[in-house]
Amino acid sequence: MLRVENTLFVGKVSLVEPTLASTNDHAISLLRQGPLLEGTLIYAIDQQNGRGQRGNEWHSAPGKNCTISIVLQPRMERLDAHFYLNKAVAVALCDTIRQWLPEARLKWPNDIYVGDRKIAGVLIENLFSGKKIKHSVLGIGVNVNQRTFGDGLARATSIVNETGQELDLQAFIASLCKHIEVRYLSFLDGQFEVLQGDYLRRLYRYEEVHLYQTKEGKLLAKIVDVNEQGQLVLQSDLGQTAYNFKELAYT
């Protein structure tokens, strides 16, 4: 049983499973069987096959990390709604982690970095009916108390590795629920400009000059925006260019 007491609806209903392949997949299969209360939280103590972007895997040590999914039903009919929902969740996650690690930043589109190491990631899966989002499953993975990572994850870190202190995982999840609820309500209220400003202020490498790998070659540029289509906008000597995810690599 996971108790989340400081929210109105996010995490009020929680389903704790000892083992799941993926909390998102579990949430989606439950949603196919029938409706879930908005804010329903699914936590897998041992998530064995957590997913990153299409095909990528993330291995989490059992009981050490925040491996959850939250079900929301934004039912918003606005073209760019899903991108703002993503920004709302990313900002909420960043702010939760900043309580312990004030230097945490948001890496476009929705990872959280401490220095140059990844500490958390988000995978959002929406269901669209026509142009409306019927439900949105927020998959959130945060390395909390895990101390070692596999070879393939040399650039991963955790809260315990950065602070030297283990956290009460339940308190962490409760705090995350609270942050998500606040940002989600502000999103539903249409406060997109506030979200956009808060997102950019937390953005990793925002307004800094760095080298990026694009299909045209290496490019010295700075991030100046994340536009309404969710694309990353880089400013270089060549002017401004908007990139889709996977069209450029950070170097």
Binding site: I124, E125, N126, L127, F128, S129, G130, Q229, G230
Partner: protein
């Protein structure tokens, strides 16, 4: 497959007015599609040759432009078929079009090695998931608002789609 066979293929593409040459990366076959392929409402793949992929791929990639250029996305070849009168405007209007709610990448299956959500000829119900459109790491399942039968899949798997671009034709 040797060079002679590749040449024969090119000749065949030319003579038969084929519109698509398809090469499965982890399979053993080349599929070739003629521009009349949807005349009878089905996918008429012709298996022209079967050989291990490892041998075929590099050769196929080197093939001259005659082979490359007809390998257009399905949408293009179907557009051609429509203008040729294969599907009349009147018939088209009987169908419901499922459109993309966003800019992104169209996927027909839930994962790289999974079966497609739906195929041409499948009967679907309202609420069935038809595809995924991915945009900036957000995965958007698109469900059918309509009960009916899939008549056409208008976009090739893993290709970019625009906002409002038709994805499927459904006969209610």
């Amino acid at each position: 497959m040797d060079f002679q066979q590749i040449q024969d293929l090119i000749k065949l593409v030319d003579e038969k007015e084929l519109t698509e040459l398809k090469i499965k990366s982890d399979g053993f076959k080349i599929s070739i599609r003629s521009k009349h392929y949807n005349k009878n409402g089905g996918n008429h793949y012709q298996t022209i040759a079967a050989a291990p992929m490892s041998q075929m791929l590099p050769l196929a990639q080197q093939s001259p432009p005659q082979v490359q250029s007809p390998a257009q996305p399905v949408a293009t070849s179907e557009a051609t078929a429509s203008t040729n009168g294969e599907t009349s405007g009147a018939e088209d209007s009987e169908y419901v079009t499922i459109k993309s709610p966003m800019i992104g990448t169209f996927y027909r299956s839930p994962g790289p090695d999974k079966d497609p959500f739906v195929k041409v000829g499948d009967t679907i119900e309202k609420g069935n998931v038809l595809c995924i459109v991915e945009a900036m790491k957000l995965f958007n399942e698109i469900e059918s608002e309509q009960t009916g039968k899939i008549i056409k899949v208008l976009v090739e798997d893993a290709s970019p789609v625009e906002y409002d671009q038709p994805l499927f034709l459904i006969a209610p």
